[in-house]
């Protein structure tokens, strides 16, 4: 069964017919590899994305020669890829080489011209890598128009470009970084919760009914005092936080690795469940139990962000801690904005009908689109996707 057919059957399974689905044809562009370099004490961590197409030319990844590279074929080519890559990137400080090692956990990442294999490696420098010499020679013998594009993850956003005529570059880390590493992780956490709409909507769906209680006949009524609402919110937020901290740590430290599409689909499903639960009671337990159980999924989602920032691998506890603090700060900001408004409006029909039901319906609709998109790997509404 080919991939297109699987997508179609998957869509059909949702009994949904949407217009405008589909993805753009991939760009044609010259060969580039993308590096993200982060400094961690005497270590330098590098996330390195190399195009699958280029790997086919350099080491050969399409084992059965059918033109389709599967994840299995790519995985088998990882040892050869590592050997090839390691021979074409060298870091040194004051003339002394920094030996390198690869972290487990290669990923696939999509850039404008197709799929890339994302490698993660750490250089252990013999001394303070304040200033580094970087020697980059990947692919030049096969494609002299290839470039290596390295972004420095030190808050400056500087970019180094290696080409066939410029294979060695010297860099000096920005001083701001050394003290600011924790702060950067905190900022990254805050940024992620505020731009991670799925997490935000999930939390919102759980918080919307916090200023209400369901009477025995199923009708909502406002709670009597702020303390009841506050206690409920505290339970929900704490449960969500504890749950996603557990799974974020497990994933970031490399104990658990789940397929990303599965995680993202389940996260979308969790938002859908939380929203629908406000319309039709699905979950019998208290909402904090749901917040905990479903929150476990969201931790795996957060860990993808750490991957993205090139922050995985060894010695990342400080980053992990900072990121978590950032996520909590971002979350608390939303709660603090939400409580007074919700509490003030709780006895109005506007709140029960418009905000609770209408809002939950919107959240449910958005999360359903996400679920379909992520499960079937299609884009339904470009503007709704994330």
């Amino acid at each position: 069964m080919n991939a297109r057919w699987r997508q179609l059957t998957c869509l059909a399974a949702f009994l949904a017919v949407w217009g405008g689905a589909g993805r753009l044809a991939r760009a044609h562009k010259p060969s580039d590899s993308y590096l993200t370099m982060s400094r961690r004490g005497v270590d330098v961590a590098v996330r390195w994305d190399i195009a699958v197409r280029d790997l086919e030319v350099a080491v050969g990844v399409d084992a059965n020669g059918d033109g389709s590279v599967t994840w299995g074929e790519l995985r088998h080519a990882i040892p050869a890829t590592r050997a090839y890559a390691a021979g074409h990137l060298a870091l040194s400080t004051s003339g002394r080489a920094c030996p390198s090692s690869f972290d487990e956990g290669e990923r696939v990442v999509s850039h404008s011209d197709g799929a890339y294999l994302s490698l993660s490696l750490v250089f252990h420098c013999p001394g303070d890598p304040d200033t580094l010499a970087v020697d980059y020679t990947l692919l030049f013998e096969l494609d002299p128009q290839h470039r290596g594009i390295a972004r420095l993850n030190d808050g400056t956003g500087r970019v180094l470009i290696f080409d066939a005529g410029r294979r060695r570059l010297d860099l000096t880390w920005s001083g701001a970084d050394r003290s600011g590493q924790l702060a950067a992780a905190v900022r990254s956490g805050v940024h992620h919760i505020w731009t991670g709409y799925d997490h935000l909507l999930f939390l919102l769906a759980l918080l919307l009914p916090a200023v209400l209680r369901r009477k025995p006949d199923g009708v909502w009524a406002g709670v009597d005092d702020l303390r009841t609402a506050g206690a409920d919110i505290a339970r929900v937020v704490t449960a969500f936080t504890v749950a996603h901290s557990i799974t974020l740590s497990l994933a970031a430290l490399g104990f658990v690795a789940l397929p990303s599409r599965l995680v993202e689909s389940l996260i979308a499903a969790s938002v859908l469940v939380a929203a629908v639960n406000n319309l039709v009671p699905l979950l019998r337990k208290d909402r904090w139990v749901a917040a905990f159980a479903l929150g476990l999924l969201h931790g795996f989602g957060f860990s993808a962000t750490l991957d993205d920032a090139g922050l995985t691998g060894t010695a990342l506890l400080k980053t992990l801690f900072g990121f978590n603090v950032g996520v909590e700060l971002g979350q608390m900001t939303m709660v603090v904005l939400f409580i007074p408004i919700a509490y003030a409006l709780r006895n109005r029909a506007l709140y029960r009908r418009g905000i609770l039901r209408g809002g939950s319906t919107v959240i449910a609709a958005v999360s359903l689109v996400w679920l379909i998109e992520r499960a079937c790997n299609v884009t339904v509404f470009g503007w709704l996707s994330r």
Partner: protein, 413 residues
């Protein structure tokens, strides 16, 4: 208070339903603006679901005959990198693939095959022409010209050299020399090749109607199946457009495209003609499914933006990302297109002008003059248009869009 199924109730009670509608609109609007421009999973590393998940489709399967030929030649070169015959065969193969797929990676592979001679002042003649082609594709026109001059000296009987030389000289606005280069062709190539070469030069230098007439006559004498026909039709279409006959230019472009649907240059030319006459829907139709090519994607984004189509946002974003990626790697190949993107889609006239000026430093084709004039006018800096105005005056170029703008800008100075 009556009790209803909460979901059913929401849809049935008019007040609740209208609230829901309001929220739907608000929620939709908020998520529209909040998530606009993000695309599914792009740029985020992920772990595929299973070993059988296809992560990439290669443009050419390893079993493909051309791929095998390339592989064989590469092996041969690994054993002896200075094997001129294998190197030039591989480079030619890759250049052909670069043309047929418009995938620039092949130009890199071609260059790799020629590396032993890349910096040589006097490489073998076969290498000279190929090196010139690659340099030309990198918009290194002076470098390409040096190679072509050398190639013409050692291979005066090679028509391809004189033709390519004429094209490069035209891009550099050295029209007399370009015409001289065309003038060598009657002895070496078919009358049609000579006519096309001449039409390309004369079309720019104020003789577009005559050039179109001469080329039409040469075309009539050529059989339908002649392989140079689509190219000749495409050049004739362009020259006819410069002569102001847009309907005929459209007909000719369509005829050329029917013979060679993968010709991106002609497709772009036809798309521009449609966009300029306000036929954006037809332009979109022409370009859809061809987004791989940056130039065609840009025109699709422009046509859709004009028409207000929602798909336009995705194409605009994609085009912007490709320009950003090219800028990141330090490429200056898309100056003309990027200037147009900034001007027509982003409405950033200052940025467009700076790109159009830098582009004019490199190349002097009519489209380069046009974008410089447009950007200068939009940025209210008519003096910045001076080089393009001087070019139009010196050449006597008659293209209607350039002529109109030149009049307006000359009047405002």
């Amino acid at each position: 208070m009556h009790r209803l199924n909460p979901v059913a109730g929401m849809w049935l009670r008019p007040r609740a339903a209208s609230w829901a509608l309001v929220l739907l609109v608000v929620g939709g609007g908020v998520s529209f603006f909040a998530t606009r421009g993000r695309s599914h999973r792009d740029g985020r590393p992920f772990l595929p679901v299973s070993d059988s998940e296809v992560v990439e489709t290669l443009p050419r399967a390893a079993g493909d005959p051309r791929a095998q030929e390339a592989k064989r030649l590469r092996r041969q070169l690994a054993a002896d990198p200075r094997d001129v015959s294998a190197a030039t065969r591989l480079a030619r193969l890759e250049i052909e693939d670069a043309r047929s797929t418009s995938d620039p990676r092949h130009l890199g592979y071609a260059q790799a095959a020629l590396m032993p001679w890349w910096a040589d002042a006097e490489p073998p003649p076969a290498v000279l022409v190929l090196r010139a082609t690659i340099r030309q594709s990198r918009h290194d026109f002076p470098g390409a010209l040096v190679d072509l001059d050398a190639a013409a000296a050692v291979q005066p009987g090679n028509a391809q050299v004189w033709l390519t030389r004429a094209v490069v000289l035209s891009v550099l606005a050295r029209y007399d020399e370009a015409a001289q280069s065309c003038g060598v062709l009657p002895a070496l190539a078919s009358p049609l090749v000579y006519a096309v070469c001449q039409a390309g030069v004369k079309g720019v230098t104020g003789q577009a109607p005559q050039a179109a007439a001469t080329l039409s006559r040469a075309l009539v004498a050529v059989p339908q199946e002649d392989p140079t026909r689509p190219w000749a039709l495409s050049v004739l279409a362009e020259v006819t457009g410069w002569a102001g006959n847009l309907a005929e230019a459209e007909r000719l472009s369509r005829a050329a495209l029917a013979l060679e649907p993968d010709d991106s240059y002609t497709r772009a030319q036809l798309a521009d003609l449609l966009i300029d006459s306000g036929r954006d829907a037809e332009a979109s139709e022409l370009l859809r499914g061809r987004e791989q090519n940056d130039g065609l994607l840009l025109r699709l984004a422009i046509a859709e933006t004009h028409a207000g189509a929602s798909a336009g946002t995705a194409h605009v974003k994609e085009a912007g990302e490709r320009f950003a990626a090219a800028r990141l790697r330090g490429d200056r190949l898309h100056g003309r297109e990027e200037a147009r993107f900034e001007l027509v889609i982003k409405h950033d006239a200052a940025q467009a002008l700076s790109l159009a000026r830098a582009n004019w430093e490199v190349q002097h084709e009519p489209a380069d003059a046009l974008i410089l004039l447009q950007a200068a006018q939009a940025a209210r800096q008519p003096e910045a248009a001076a080089p393009a105005l001087a070019w139009a005056k010196a050449t006597g170029f008659q293209g209607p869009a350039v002529a109109t703008l030149a009049r307006q800008l000359a009047g405002s100075r």
